[in-house]
Subunit: 258 residues, 2 copies
Amino acid sequence: MQLGAIDRADDRPPYRQIADQLRAVIDRGDLVAGDKLPSEAVLIEHYGVARMTVRQAVQELRNEGRVVAEHGKGTFVRQPVQVRRLASERFARRHREAGLAAFSVEAQKTGFTPNVDQLEIATGPASPEIRDRLRLGDDEQVVSRSRRYLADGQPVEMAVSYLPASVAAGSQIVEADTGPGGIYARLEDMGFELDHFTEEVSARMPTAEERRRLQLTDGVPVVVLVRTAYDTTGRPLEVCDTLKAAPAYVLEYDVPAR
Amino acid sequence: MQLGAIDRADDRPPYRQIADQLRAVIDRGDLVAGDKLPSEAVLIEHYGVARMTVRQAVQELRNEGRVVAEHGKGTFVRQPVQVRRLASERFARRHREAGLAAFSVEAQKTGFTPNVDQLEIATGPASPEIRDRLRLGDDEQVVSRSRRYLADGQPVEMAVSYLPASVAAGSQIVEADTGPGGIYARLEDMGFELDHFTEEVSARMPTAEERRRLQLTDGVPVVVLVRTAYDTTGRPLEVCDTLKAAPAYVLEYDVPAR
DNA sequence: CGCTTGTACTCCTCTAGACGTCTTAAGACT
DNA sequence: AGTCTTAAGACGTCTAGAGGAGTACAAGCG
């Protein structure tokens, strides 16, 4: 692996020159996914700069999502973010068969091994925003379920959903499958009549926490899917917010015969 | 504007506590878009920490896109992404009735008076990307159609679509309605059998030109809908990219009887 | 009045350390 | 052999400075 020196004649600051050289090492393939970057101590020695300068250079690569620092272990080259176009399938049909589509179906149709982690379930008072979305009274409690979906170990999606505690009604619902349609099937089993739901696709910049959990590159917005499920009386039964890095959502519709 | 102090008993590092407090100031509305954050010197004085600590806190907010630092001027709160919630309607039903959903249907169901401007049509060689998406040969030409949708005079959406010149076949297609389903109805009239299409929702930061045409504020990502229409043989007939500021897309599905 | 200059303020970059926590592996002990 | 301790190496956080460069505005000059 070849690292150059800092060119004092260069008008770019040293930390940027170092970052560029590290980037080049990765782009050239001298270091591939999983490889360890030279440690901070080595880079300090090589370039003859202070520790903060080296850290600032590495921070650039971290913000770009090219490397990941692991406390006590080292800094490692990350898998490149995949931006492949997903193969299209008969999604809409399956969607109708399943009754309600789950956003996370996508992960399962691409050949990845999907799994779920960071499942957290909590019961407590609702925030004003959630109260508004679920049309709850001031003192009603909600059950929140957050989880993260991974494809081949790589986080691709995270979701938080809220149900009125009166709907969750004990422990059954909170253990419901986090897979596609799981929660909705469970709700129907419990006697709730799902009528329809709304989905709203939006986008925004992720918070630091969201960027961390999804291992996002700096400057990349996330696609947000806001879903609300209603019963036949029009009462919201569940709201679910799903976050993904772009590209996010592939639907396929069949054209009906005319 | 109220800023607290650092809680040494808190297990979170000071820089994160400072970042949280600055975030809270923005979330509370004490500082709104365009306002200047307290300068580094003021924050150093207030919290009694070193410069690097303050800078690390502000860096978090910069990474989140909440603030922007301008050399020599200060650090300013950025325009927040709007999270306006749109009223939901029986979208899916209409979608099935219409045969194919158009992304721009939304504008028409919100009570705005929609209209289209900046219609541009051109025929020429395809870029490598478009060639790839339409599966064209090296020397095949494409017809591109770009337009902008306005609601009550306000630009809300823009779209560019490409058809192989062999499909467009003269002047009929290029004058096709830009409204929902218009182009697809025209294609079917011409004997093309539309089979299905894929839609991919993504998001990214807009280019300067896109920001200008959609009159976007700085820091707001755009939702991108990438649609490809296929005929029964699996050949792509049209690709269409639509851009909107978030929020963008509201669907409503009915749950079929079980 | 218009232009230049000075100056204060701002963020940018960097230095040379310090101590902390986490991971790993070697070595000591049972 | 298995378990515990310890130390080295790695990144995390922080201090207390320094000079640089861009900006805004007031003072001075022609």
